[in-house]
């Protein structure tokens, strides 16, 4: 999977990075990992609202599954305690398994939906679960169709 992603990355070298949009965490339900469903305005003309919202909703449901406190997590916790936590060296935790699923899902979404629109999702795990980073690319071949986003971001920061 890492190899394919690398090819996708190399593909990205043909396009130039315009800006990055960040979807922040939603803490209204506590410290569980959840991203805001608010649609960033910078992506208005790049992708349909429903697609991004669907992606975020699915990611949120994956995180809920990973952090669910139920029978399996108790079993894992008690087993780990009984073995003086040595079992964590040999076994992959449920959280890690779900994170792998998430990474696969993001890769699939990138391939099918986001790359054709010149966007790229970065797995939140690579950003410390703080943000869902969406890189916005511009094809070097075609003229810049959305110069306003890059100029506005540069202009607002340079005061």
């Amino acid at each position: 999977m890492a190899k394919e992603f690398h090819n996708l990355q190399e593909l990205r070298h043909n396009a130039s990075l315009v800006t990055k949009v960040f979807v922040q965490r939603d803490y209204t339900e506590g410290t569980v990992c959840r991203f805001q469903a608010k649609f960033p305005s910078e992506l208005d003309n790049r992708i349909e609202r429903t697609l991004l919202e669907e992606t975020v909703k699915t990611l949120n449901s994956y995180y809920v599954e990973a952090e669910k406190i139920g029978g399996q997590s108790y079993l894992e916790g008690c087993l780990a305690c009984a073995t003086a936590y040595i079992v964590f060296l040999c076994m992959e935790t449920r959280y890690e398994k779900v994170l792998k699923k998430i990474s696969g899902y993001i890769h699939e979404q990138n391939e099918k939906i986001y790359a054709p629109r010149g966007l790229l999702l970065t797995d939140p795990v690579e950003r410390g679960m703080r943000v869902l980073e969406i890189s916005v690319f511009e094809d070097r071949g075609s003229g810049s169709s959305s110069p306003s986003s890059s100029m506005s971001s540069a202009g607002s920061s340079a005061r």
Binding site: Y27, R127, G128, S157, A158, R159
Partner: protein, 466 residues
Amino acid sequence: MMKNCEYQQIDPRALSVLPQSAQNNTEKTVQRSRRKWEVFPGKNRFFCDGRIILASQSGVLPLTLGLIIVTCGLFFAFDCPFLVKHLTVFIPVIGGALFVFVVFSLLRTSFTDPGILPRATPDEAADIEKQIDTSGSSTYRPPPRTKEILINQQVVKLKYCFTCKMFRPPRTSHCSLCDNCVERFDHHCPWVGNCVGKRNYRFFYSFIISLSFLTSFIFGCVITHITLRSQEGKSLVQSIQESPASVVELVICFFSIWSILGLSGFHTYLIASNLTTNEDIKGSWSSKRCAEESGNPYSYNSIITNCCATLCGPMPPSLIDRRGFLSLDEAIPAVSASEIELPPFTVKSDAHMCTQSTKDVLERMVHSYDVHGLCPPATPKTTPLDLEVSGPAAASSEPSLSAGCLPQDARQPVVPPCPPFSRSNKRRDSLHSINPAFRLASPSPSLSRTTFILGDAPDNGFIPLP
């Protein structure tokens, strides 16, 4: 003295949106791929190529380990033979199992990443500033220090961390000893030599509970040993003379039992109410502040659920990815900034500051500003080109910093509540009494970073030492 409180704005043009020529030139400087732990910005130490993580000062971890090993060693060598002969062979077996569990828990607590949050990438930090700075005024203002959000219908303030350049998630705190933001920060334990946070709290709890059992067990066995000896027609003094090691163990265990049992009880209370030591000390959810019974928005309002959630909850993975390799764009030093004309109100971004040594950055900065002549002619209120690299220089700015810039939240309690066999500990009367030995650690800004302040300082600016 004038506060050196000037926030450095992130210059987004020095970030990943780089002209291609700059990128191509600098790619050649990367010779070998490095692992991420080598460029980790916090004050942690890494061993075994990033597999083991420790705080910068191991504190008294060697002492803790030493005391445990010595006491158990004496127990097995001097008390167990007698007790096996007179009682049962299970005594050393139980003792051995407890000892192994204690040592494993201790090492696990010390060597596990407590839940360190990696610092925000420059792009993220710039985005946060852009979102906040919407007033359109000509002078630059730093991001506000707090942001209020609703958690379970309760208002919680999220604080902005100037070192990590992000709004801290709830229950996250910045440990100034380790210079990291740690999730669900409990306290920095010098006895364990690490912070106690989300990922290693259960190991820490196992450690103190098992240590309570071990200490009580050894104490009981030693008492039994001496009693049995003196019952065989010898006086107490004679028994003690025959087994002097037992007295040593007795003294060590007697003085440590009080503190360890007190600590175990305190942490059991914290777990049952889903609190951290940090929150309990600050009284964040105390009934004086909140009208409702339980102001804690994280509590499940059931003791069993709280316990299970904290101890048997899912184990999140480490977010700092110590052993991952640096990707090419992260390893490229930020020389591009020197090619970009900077307006007077902005300074060189610390885009890749954390990936370089301080000396490299200094040399580059001095060179680039000499070339472009961006040093302001008049001395502003804050010191221009103030290169604070060493500890004392930064420390002198810290008191003013803490007084002015971060008055409320920067106090991190460094709790020494886990002294296993210390003789000087007093008995704890209440489970959560305020220990006068708490050290209030310094606020967020790091001591080991360079500081560049150019241009006029805004009046209300804060300085983060990036």
